[in-house]
């Protein structure tokens, strides 16, 4: 082992022990993958991801095709003798105070809640995201104006603002509720987007692209936004749940959806009258609401862990 030609204390390892690898060669055996593919891998391995996904899929199917789940019409055939009645054959959840079937009301109520939740989230993400991205990327006067307008809306609690606005609107449908909620909720997304765009636009690869001759707008769309979108996706998934809650809150207060529209919020509001005598009337729509919100929140949590490993709790 000791090489005779070397001086005292000069140790040389045998080449067999540490064969020389080619300098800086590419490991071609590994599969090519993007950071989003990595995120998908991270999510795929979590049971909570699949559970929440199955729940959300079920809720979406219920919302889209309520007739698949019940033949009973929620507003027809309500008989007062059944008022606050317990479960019986064909009516597994029992009856409301008006004698309507709770099960079919819960099934039909999903549509309004899910519509409001998804519509408001999409509106907020698209408009808040665009406004935030433009403000963050172009900066200067535009940024100052947009940020201050955002601050004004930020100072008004979403539900409070919605109460005021809803009470003066002539028509109240799921679409108007979603619009009103989005109007007061966009600054949150805009702020997050702005912050992460500001961070991304100072990255070296943006400077490199400018020097390569790529146009400003193309840099924003192709480089800055894809790198800044992750936190927005995370907040959007969790905010979907809060929009459903907000709709329920408004309907409960009687200024959300009108009483003839089937909605969990309305049913919870009506069940309040008989909470002491028939708590199950309140329980079913409330449970449906909680499960839906929980599913979206859990999904948001999993998405956040996958997209932002730094936020992951130390395990």
């Amino acid at each position: 082992m000791q090489n005779s030609s070397s001086g005292p204390g000069h140790f040389v390892a045998q080449l067999d022990d540490t064969p020389l690898a080619a300098v800086d060669s590419v490991d071609e055996s590994e599969k090519a993958r993007s950071s989003f593919a990595d995120a998908w891998d991270a999510m795929r391995g979590r049971p909570m991801f699949w559970i929440s996904l199955v729940m959300i899929a079920l809720i979406l199917v219920v919302a889209a095709f309520p007739n698949l789940f019940t033949q009973t019409k929620p507003n027809l055939g309500c008989l007062l003798p059944d008022s606050n009645g317990g479960p019986e054959a064909g009516h597994p959840f029992g009856f409301t105070r008006q004698g309507c079937d709770i099960y079919s009301r819960v099934i039909f109520g999903a549509q309004a809640s899910v519509t409001v939740g998804i519509l408001a989230t999409v509106l907020v993400t698209v408009f808040g995201g665009i406004i935030g991205a433009l403000a963050g990327f172009y900066g200067g006067f535009l940024d100052a104006v947009v940020s201050r307008i955002g601050d004004i809306f930020f100072a008004i609690p979403t539900v409070l603002g919605a109460i005021v606005l809803m009470s003066v609107l002539p028509t109240r449908t799921p679409v108007t509720v979603a619009l009103v909620l989005a109007l007061f909720a966009w600054p949150q997304i805009a702020r997050i987007m702005r912050g992460s765009v500001v961070a991304a636009k100072n990255a070296d690869y943006v400077t490199a692209s400018i020097a390569l001759g790529v146009s400003r707008f193309r840099i924003l769309v192709r480089h800055v936004v894809p790198n800044a979108i992750a936190p927005v996706i995370v907040v959007a998934t969790t905010s979907l749940g809060t929009f459903i809650v907000a709709e329920a809150t408004l309907s409960f207060l009687g200024i959300g959806l009108p009483p003839d529209v089937m909605s969990w919020g309305n049913d919870i509001g009506q069940a309040r009258a008989s909470i002491a005598t028939a708590p199950m009337v309140l329980f079913y729509p409330a449970a449906a609401l909680s499960l839906t919100v929980l599913s979206f929140l859990v999904l948001g949590d999993v998405v956040r862990d996958a997209l932002d490993p730094k936020a992951r709790a130390r395990r």
Binding site: P8, G9, A13, L15, V23, V26, Y205, L212, V214
Partner: protein, 583 residues
């Protein structure tokens, strides 16, 4: 233990006991990751005697820092010593309890971390942080601790320590902070000081003063020093003993001068051959200009002569200047709170010209304005005064279509290979981006060009679908070069393009750049802080100091006969400048 580096007799006679201060036997360290347990140190042996200085050299990932961290039990969370022993004065440190280890750390073994910028807490003043270390190690308490703090900082080379105790880290320069960290490391007069790349983040002249000072201190105190470094020159200049690590193993160990003069292991030989030094010569492309084929290995002797002839030829044929800078200045206005602004002259009356097909190096320490010159040449910033000509036409303040045409012909490669590639873009998309931006060709022809470029930078075609996070720094830098080449530019501005790379990878990229220059007739503006690298690639050199060019000449003139005092100082400060490596 027959294969462990034994102590030389001369050193043995100096130590009173026969027991070495630090002896590592068959050390194994691994990291727990998502992909399972990954060994980082695979059976390392080394011996360090009292009063000796030992350097561990190796590339990133060789396990040199992990070895050092294992000694003082500072391995990152997922790391674990899985075998072997670390004997410090005969005690096995791997078997000590956390509490006993706390007593060893700082008091018996001092540590100087790598990055002076992040290793001092920005919310506490310097005096507090040094005093904290002094109290924790039981050196002094109460009023004495404050007195000792001032002493420690004065020893570390801060002469006005008394006045600066209340200052915060941001008020100190990088060199000053490193002095503070050295002061903390030595405050308890430890028997061993571990210095993990203590000066990698500093300019060469600062590095020199700091290392000189460290050498004096450790000699006076009789402290043994364990250097972790990637710099062979630094190792041979500052350490008597050397351990070369590669892939978690020791491949060669012994007296440093002997190893580097006569490297025996193939890896050490490669490392030594790639290490740039003042004795290096400019890399000459071994490719014939008319073909892209590399010369036959068997005709290396003939090739040598041919290369020399070609080098002479290229020096003797005057080329037209492609880029000319005339008295270029750049002034930044710095806001000083309220409406007050201060002017900062980042670039001050800079003039130079780059003939077509040659390389001009721009050398300077941090803050010299060299990177600002790169931005001005690239038209990323507007000049304040002066003139920049490209092919005889002024390019300052061009806009729109002209600017786009200019960008097509002058392309950049930036320093940080981890930051300059968009992480969500695949390699193929990244290289094709300039083609898309300038609307060159259709989808198919772009793909063909991308494949051609990957071949030119010697990356396998399968890299097309990969993402930057899967590639090493050197590979990323090659992709950045391919992207810069995509539009067949005339000029490439290389802003510290190889500074972040390991020496072997650096050598590989420099050879690639030289080959591409010979093949495509490229003109380079090569910006760097590393004079030794300059010798390998540049035809002409300009040395910058505080925004001004202090010396401008051909590379040989600057290196063999520097005229300016600052240039001389820079050359003198290169570690191991006068050591002749065995190649």
């Amino acid at each position: 233990m027959s294969n462990a580096p034994s102590t030389s007799p001369a050193v043995d006679s100096k130590t009173t006991e026969n027991q070495p201060l630090l002896q590592i036997r068959d050390l194994q360290v691994g990291f727990k990751t998502q992909r399972g347990f990954i060994p980082a140190v695979k059976g390392v042996d080394l011996t360090l005697n009292a009063g000796q200085t030992l350097a561990i050299v190796g590339e990133s990932g060789s396990g040199k820092s992990t070895t050092a961290q294992a000694i003082i039990d500072l391995l990152p969370g997922a790391g674990k010593v899985t075998g072997g022993e670390i004997l410090f004065e005969g005690r096995d440190l791997t078997k000590l309890s956390a509490k006993a280890m706390q007593d060893v750390r700082g008091r018996l073994i001092g540590y100087v971390p790598q990055d002076p910028m992040s290793n001092l807490n920005p919310v506490w003043n310097i005096g507090f942080q040094v005093e904290e270390a002094i109290r924790a190690n039981g050196v002094a308490q109460g009023k004495d601790a404050r007195k000792r703090t001032i002493e420690v900082l004065q020893e570390a080379g801060l002469s006005d320590a008394g006045d600066r105790l209340k200052q915060y880290p941001h008020q100190f320069s990088g060199g000053m902070r490193q002095r503070v960290l050295i002061g903390i490391g030595l405050s308890a007069r430890p028997k061993l000081l571990i210095a993990d790349e203590p000066t990698s983040a500093l300019d060469v002249t600062v590095q020199r003063t700091i290392l000189d000072h460290l050498a004096t201190l450790t000699r006076d105190f009789g402290t043994s020093v364990l250097f972790i470094t990637h710099d062979l020159g630094l190792a041979v200049e500052r350490a008597e003993q050397l351990v070369v690590m590669y892939k978690g193993r020791v491949v060669e160990a012994g007296p440093s001068a002997e190893i580097l003069a006569n490297p025996l292991h193939p890896y050490t030989q490669k490392l030594v051959a790639a290490a740039p030094s003042l004795a290096s010569r400019r890399i000459q492309s071994a490719r014939r200009p008319d073909t892209t084929k590399t010369l036959d290995i068997s005709s290396v002797g003939a090739a040598d002569n041919e290369l020399i002839a070609r080098a002479d030829a290229r020096e003797n044929t005057p080329q037209k200047n492609l880029i000319t800078l005339e008295s270029v200045s750049k002034i930044y206005k710095i806001r000083q709170g309220g409406f007050k602004t201060k002017e900062l002259k980042a670039v001050d009356d800079v003039s130079f010209a780059i003939p077509r097909g040659t390389t001009r190096a721009l050398v300077g320490e941090s803050g010299s304005g060299k990177s600002t010159v790169a931005k001005l040449v690239l038209q990323l910033e507007d000049i304040t005064s002066g003139r920049i000509d490209f092919e005889g036409n002024s390019v300052a303040d061009i806009r729109g279509r002209d600017l786009l045409a200019f960008r097509r012909r002058v392309q950049p490669v930036f320093q940080d290979p981890y930051g300059s590639l968009d992480p969500v873009y695949s390699v193929g998309d990244t290289i094709a981006e300039p083609l898309v931006a300038h609307r060159v060709g259709d989808r198919k022809s772009r793909q063909a060009r991308v494949r051609e470029l990957l071949d030119q930078v010697a990356l396998p075609l399968s890299t097309v679908n990969r993402y930057p996070n899967e590639l090493s720094g050197g590979q990323r830098q090659r992709i950045a070069v391919a992207r810069a080449l995509a539009l067949k530019p005339d000029v490439i501005v290389l802003d510290e393009a190889v500074s972040a790379l390991d020496v072997l990878v650096q050598g590989q990229i420099l050879t690639l750049l030289t080959d591409l220059q010979a093949e495509l007739g490229l003109t380079y503006l090569f910006i760097t802080h590393d004079l030794a690298v300059v010798r390998l690639v540049a035809d002409t050199v300009s040395v910058m100091q505080k925004g001004k060019i202090v010396e401008s000449a051909t590379t040989d003139e600057v290196f063999d006969n520097p005229q300016n005092i600052y240039t001389q100082k820079l050359l003198e400060a290169i570690p191991g400048a006068h050591f002749s490596f065995g190649r």
